[in-house]
Structures are given as C-alpha cells and as structure tokens.
C-alpha cells in the first residue's frame, strides 16, 4: 500500500472536464512518486458541502481540496478577492504567471496557513462565458440586465456597472434563465453551457468572458505538508503546475470546439466584447477592488501586489 493515502474533494460534479483533469493529476502524482502517494479525488458534496471543505481539510477529515476559494469569502474577504478578482485577467495564463512568479501564491499562503492549510499551487478554470438572453455589446447594455451573481465581488461590480444582480443559487439558474426570470448568469465555461443546452434560450453568450476567472486552489492539510520529505513536496508542486497549464489548454480546446458548434446555429450570436468596452468594465471593477482592499491587511496587500503587476505589464 501507499505511504500516504489521501482524499481530496473538488468543486465539480464528476462529469465536468475539470474533474477529469484533477483525476489525471492524482494519477500523475502516484506515478511520479512511485506509488508512495495515492490521492482519491471526490466530486463536489461527496463528503462535505462545497463551502465547508476548508474546515474539513483543517480538521483532517479531508486531506486536501481542489476548489474555488470564493466559497470561503464569508471567512475572510481575501478568499473572494484572490479567488476571483473580477475584471482583472484577460487570460488564465496571466493569472498563473502572477500567482506563481509575482507573489500571489505567497499571499494566498499567508491567508490560508493560519487555517491549517497549505497551498501547493494555483490553477484556473479559464475565462468564464456569460450566457445571456439579451445582447451585451457594450457596458451600457448591462443597464437593467437581470443577472444572476453568486458570492464574492461579482455582485457589487455588476451592480456598479448598472446591471441588476439577482442572488440566485446555481440549481435555479437553468430554469430561471429559460423562463426569463433572469436575463443572464455568471455561471460557468462556454463548453459546459453549450453541452447543457443553455444557448438554446440564452442566445447571446458573451465569449470570451470579461468578468470572471475563478482560481482553483490546490491545498493540503498543513500538518501533513510539513511532515512530507522534500522529494514528495517537489513532486506535488511540479505536478500542480503541470496540471494548471493542462487545464488552461484542455478547457480552451473544449471551448473552441463548442464555439465552432454554436456558430453553426444561426440562432446563437456569440458576442466578443470590444477591447475599449472591456477596459471600461475593468475600470468599474477597479473601483470595487479599492473598496475590498480596505477590508483587511491581506486584501490590501493583494490589491497593492496585483495592481503593481498589472501596471508593470501595461495591463492597467
């Protein structure tokens, strides 16, 4: 048997591609460690609800999780801010570059280690698409748009941009969008929306999205981490980096395929928001970042660090 046998819970159901990629990561870890580490990957809600995995990893019920930190915004707003800095990233690779080489991972660890977790590495799911039944060709088109927004910064930023955010749980999105209770939804990636048939009534998907890029934090119980030998630590870190790039590439590939399929349907109009409109939205978002920065020391630190990075790279 393996020296280390762990259970990690994810934030997806089993069918989603992210889940398969996470399972491959576990397989890679096993191969690379010569069978010394065996990780079981479980779907969302398998052991505890999605918003309780932080506590479960800390308590040692789970040994780790691969999840969107926004679920823990209620514990510390920094989770929401790092987990999904709305409007900041034009591409998941920018986000990964920032996290790995420009201090993001360190700030996240500063946040999460007191809870008894250690961030092995960051990944991202790719820019989400915004399924909408009304065309969004400019930021002005957001005015009065009834848009489903969950926890985190999304709600306030869309509110600032003139939209009418509706706080609705994920399980109600499909029917509500179909029947017209809401006009648009901050939901998930294009390919998944297409597969679920969302575009048959949300005919104006905004893609590539301009709003949301959720982080996937790959974290482990800190006590376990501290007790690991250096070779296994390195294997975990390197394998997470590799998974992060794989996730970007594979999800993009899948989106491209789905976009091609959607384009064949004359009823669906995929709208790519022009660069100047994206800039407008980012500026609105930045005002909200400033509000969040003032919430505590870590949100301030993250804000300073991210804006420095964005400025250095001419993105702001």
């Amino acid at each position: 048997a393996a020296e280390y046998s762990w259970t990690f819970q994810t934030s997806e159901t089993n069918g989603e591609p992210q889940f398969e990629i996470k399972k491959e990561w576990a397989q890679n870890v096993k191969t690379m460690s010569g069978g010394r580490i065996e990780i079981e990957i479980l779907p969302v809600n398998a052991v505890v609800p999605a918003n309780q995995t932080l506590d479960a990893v800390a308590a040692g019920i789970l040994q780790g999780h691969l999840t969107d930190p926004s679920y823990f915004s209620g514990k510390d707003p920094a989770f929401g801010m790092i987990g999904n800095l709305v409007g900041a990233w034009g591409d998941p690779l920018e986000f990964l570059e920032y996290m790995k080489y420009n201090g993001g991972d360190e700030i996240y660890n500063e946040l999460v280690e007191p809870y008894g977790l250690h961030l092995i590495g960051s990944a991202a799911t790719g820019l989400e698409s915004l399924p909408s039944s009304k065309p969004i060709r400019s930021v002005d088109d957001l005015k009065g748009l009834k848009l489903r927004a969950p926890e985190g910064m999304v709600y306030d930023i869309f509110s600032k941009a003139g939209a009418t955010p509706v706080n609705l749980p994920g399980s109600e999105v499909y029917t509500s969008l179909e029947k017209g209770v809401i006009d648009a939804a901050d939901y998930t990636v294009f390919a998944t929306n297409q597969a679920q048939g969302l575009h048959s009534f949300a005919k104006y998907p905004a893609y590539p999205g301009f709003h949301s890029l959720p982080m996937v934090s790959v974290s482990i119980n800190k006590q376990i981490w501290d007790g690991l030998p250096d070779d296994l630590k390195k294997i975990l870190e390197v394998s997470v980096d590799s998974m992060a790039y794989e996730m970007v590439a594979k999800l993009k590939q899948r989106d491209i395929k789905a976009v091609a399929e959607a384009r064949k349907d004359p009823n669906i109009e995929i709208i790519d928001l022009p660069a100047e409109e994206r800039a407008k939205f980012r500026n609105i978002a930045r005002q909200e970042w400033e509000v969040w920065a003032k919430k505590n020391a870590i949100t301030q630190k993250y804000y300073d660090s991210v804006t420095a990075y964005l400025k250095e790279n001419g993105m702001m």
Binding site: P43, V47, V48, G60, E172, V181
Partner: protein, 442 residues
C-alpha cells in the same frame, strides 16, 4: 487518523455491516432519522476517529441550507391552509360529481391533479403532503379503498421529478454533462405513461370491484344545472391557485421555488375572499408546517450524513469496482446498474444515489455507446421507485407525516407494492424500447 479500527475490515465488509446495522436498528423502532444518523456516527467514529465527527454536522448544515428544499415548507404551508379552509372539500365534492358513475373516478382525477402539481414543482415532498392532506382524507371520506387512495397519493405525488421542471434531471444533466432541456423532453413521455398506467390500474381495479372506488350513488345525483354549479364552485379556487403557480413559473415571473410562495399567497387570498380567514387558522397552519417539516427533513438529514461517511470510506470506489468487474453483455450491465440503483434506493435519498452512483455509471454508459440522455430517464424512473420502496421510501414518510393516525407505515408500504410494480414495468419498457422516450428528440 485513528478510529476504533473499524477500517481494518475493508470497504466490502464495511458495506455489509453498514446495511446490516441499519436493518438491525430499524427493527428496534428507533426513529428512522436517528437510525441512519447513528450508523453514520458510529462509522465515522469507528473508521476515522473523533476528529472526523464534524463531518456529520457539516452534512446537516449542507442539507438544511439546500435552496431547493425551501419549496417543501411552502408546499406544506399551502397544504395546511387548504386543509383548514373549505376549498379542499369543495374541490373533492365537485370531483365526485364530475366522476359521476365512473368507479374510481375521484382517484383518477387526483392523479390528474398530481400531474398538474408535478409541472409546478421540481422535487417530491410538498406535493405528497399536499395530496396527503387533501385527497387522502377526502377519498377515504368518499369510501375509497385505503390502499388505492394511498398509492395514488404517493405514486402521483412523486411525479414532480419526472415532469419538468425537475431537480433530479437538472442534477443528472450537471453530472452527466448532457443537455438539461433534452433530459426534460425525454422524460415527458415516460412520465405521462407512468401517470396513465396508474390511471389504468385504478380503473382496472375499480371497474372489477366498484366498492374500491364507489361511484356517485343514484340518490346523490343532481339535476344538470345544479351539477354545473357544484362543479364550478369546487373548481374555481383550485384553478386560480394552480394558474397563479404555473403562470408565475412559465411566465418567467418567479423561480420554481419562489412560485411555491406565490401559491401560498394565492391560497391565502382565496381564504380571505371566501371569508374563512382567521388568525387562528394561520397560527394552526404554520404550526402544522413546522411539525411536519421537522419530521420529514430529519429523515433526509440522517441519509445525507450516511452518504458523506460512505463516500469518505471509499464506497464509490467499491461500487465502481463491482460494476467494472462484470464481464457481460451491455444490456446485462444496464440491468445490473438498475438493480444497484434499486438497492441503493432502498436506503438512500435520490441526491445521495446521484452523487454515489452516477459518476460511476455515466462514463460506462457512454463507453458502451448508449445515449446518456436516455440513461437519465432510466435514472429518473428508478428514483420514482426509490421514493416508494421500503424501508426508506421518502414518499411513504411524507404521507405518514400527514395521514390519519390509524394508517401505519406498514399499511402505506403494502399499498405501494402494485405501484412499484407499475414503475418497474415502465422502466423495463423504456429499457427495451428507448424510442418511447427518445422520439421527441428526433
């Protein structure tokens, strides 16, 4: 983590012990909610140790904050209000007139009402409580056979997850990554067939023996004009209320859950207009709602805890290995999957089954070349069975919560047997002839 060493027995024997433990505890007469909860608690402690115990309350937290369950108390509230007003009695009086000389006619109409309710809700629970409070006492009052009346309420009230909107199919669509619209469409025909089969069964029984569903006696027959008045009076408010709920959903005014709240307002409005409103009526209704909810929700709580522990024990790997170990023809694998779903359905609630089994089954189905949408329909029908099958039949529990005292849980489960047989027959039909459900997508 060190437990009491229970984990040394391995997942296979662990599974048997877990099931055995549930059956053993059931027999003692311990409340069902505590049976599953206690077994889960013992396994958590014994397998993983005391540090893992917060898992249990974490599951409780997740379960009771589940948004889709918000509709349950709303429906129960609606039912309690209707029960205390004269609306239900008027409705069933007019249904009795409508049924006329047809034996079992009121039961048939109850099934039609259940079908309409199914289009108003995406879960089960609320509808069964609603029908259990309204239709069951009325059918018994009209001299209907108890078993038929119980079966109609439970089987009909379960249709909510077969007819769109359906949370079961939405969750299936998410897990299987297939179009939710397609699963909705594909489920409509089998759902209708289920309803019609229940109707056929009721008519078959009642035509052979009219005492099971007494037709309107000659002395109660009314002149045509009076008949119309009675029918119109009885149907007026129910039609308005159903219209409000369906209208708010299909008109895009409210989400499925909010529509249940709109229904409550509709009922309150009707009660006020009819001059039946009093603060006491409202107090009694909310009181009845919280009593009923406490009872039915805690059974779900117990099952939810159990699923979490079993998953952590590696239960899903065990089930997966068992299936993959089979070397058989594709259709045999389908049947085996159905049997496993059926067995899981004896103990777990549908969400637990979906979380446990679907991640394993769906990839295999796709690999075998079957359409996952079709399998989604099979899953939904299977869940219909699980709602009724003992020892954990949520439909039976929901009904027990509101049924007259003299009806025991055993009475209910006995009454459900023919309806379970019908469900299994429809399941077999859809397995043998997939086109019966899939034609709509061609």
């Amino acid at each position: 983590m060190g437990g009491l060493g229970l984990n040394a027995m391995g997942i296979e024997y662990g599974t048997y012990l877990l099931i055995g433990g549930i059956f053993g505890l059931l027999l003692t007469g311990l409340p069902l909610a505590f049976v599953t909860g206690l077994v889960a608690l013992i396994f958590t402690f014994g397998w993983f140790g005391p540090n893992a115990l917060p898992l249990i309350t974490s599951r409780v937290y997740g379960f009771i904050t589940e948004y889709s369950l918000v509709a349950v108390p709303m429906f129960v509230f609606m039912a309690s209000l209707l029960d205390r007003s004269g609306i239900a009695k008027d409705l069933f009086n007019s249904m009795r007139i409508l049924a006329g000389r047809l034996p079992g006619g009121v039961a048939v109409q109850t099934l039609v009402v259940a079908f309409l309710l199914a289009a108003m809700s995406g879960i089960i629970g609320g509808e069964i409580v609603l029908l259990g409070l309204l239709a069951l006492p009325q059918m018994l009052r009209l001299g209907y056979d108890r078993s038929i009346a119980i079966g109609v309420v439970c089987a009909g009230g379960s249709l909510g997850t077969m007819i769109p909107p359906s949370i079961v199919l939405i969750i299936y669509g998410l897990i299987a990554s297939v179009s939710i619209a397609d699963t909705f469409a594909a489920a409509v025909t089998p759902g209708t067939i289920l309803m019609l089969s229940y109707v056929a069964y009721v008519l078959f029984r009642c035509l052979r023996n009219p005492e099971l569903g007494p037709p309107l006696p000659e002395r109660d027959r009314l002149p045509a004009k009076e008949r119309l008045v009675v029918i119109a009076t009885g149907l007026f408010w129910p039609v308005i209320i159903i219209g409000i709920v369906l209208g708010t959903i299909y008109g895009g005014i409210a989400s499925v859950t909010e529509a249940a709240a709109m229904g409550v307002v509709g009922v309150l409005l009707a009660i006020v207009v009819r001059g039946e409103f009093s603060p006491k009526l409202l107090q009694q209704s909310v009181q009845h709602t919280i009593d009923t909810c406490g009872m039915i929700i805690w059974i779900g709580v117990g099952a939810a805890i159990l699923v979490g522990v079993y998953n952590l024990m590696g239960g899903n790997r065990f089930v997966s290995a068992t299936i993959l170990g089979l070397d058989a023809a594709p259709w045999v694998i389908i049947v085996v999957m159905m049997v496993i779903l059926g067995v899981l359905g004896l103990f777990l609630d549908w969400i637990g089954i979906a979380m446990l089994a679907l991640p394993i089954f769906v990839p295999i189905i796709v690999q075998l070349g079957y359409d996952p949408v079709w399998f989604g329909v099979l899953f939904a029908i299977n869940m219909q069975v699980s709602f009724l099958s003992p020892p954990f039949g949520p439909a039976a529990f929901y009904l027990k919560g509101v049924a007259p005292k003299e009806i025991s849980l055993q009475n209910i489960f006995m009454a459900l047997i023919p309806f379970i047989c019908i469900q299994v027959a429809v399941l077999a039909l859809i397995i043998a002839f997939p086109e019966v459900s899939m034609w709509i997508l061609r």
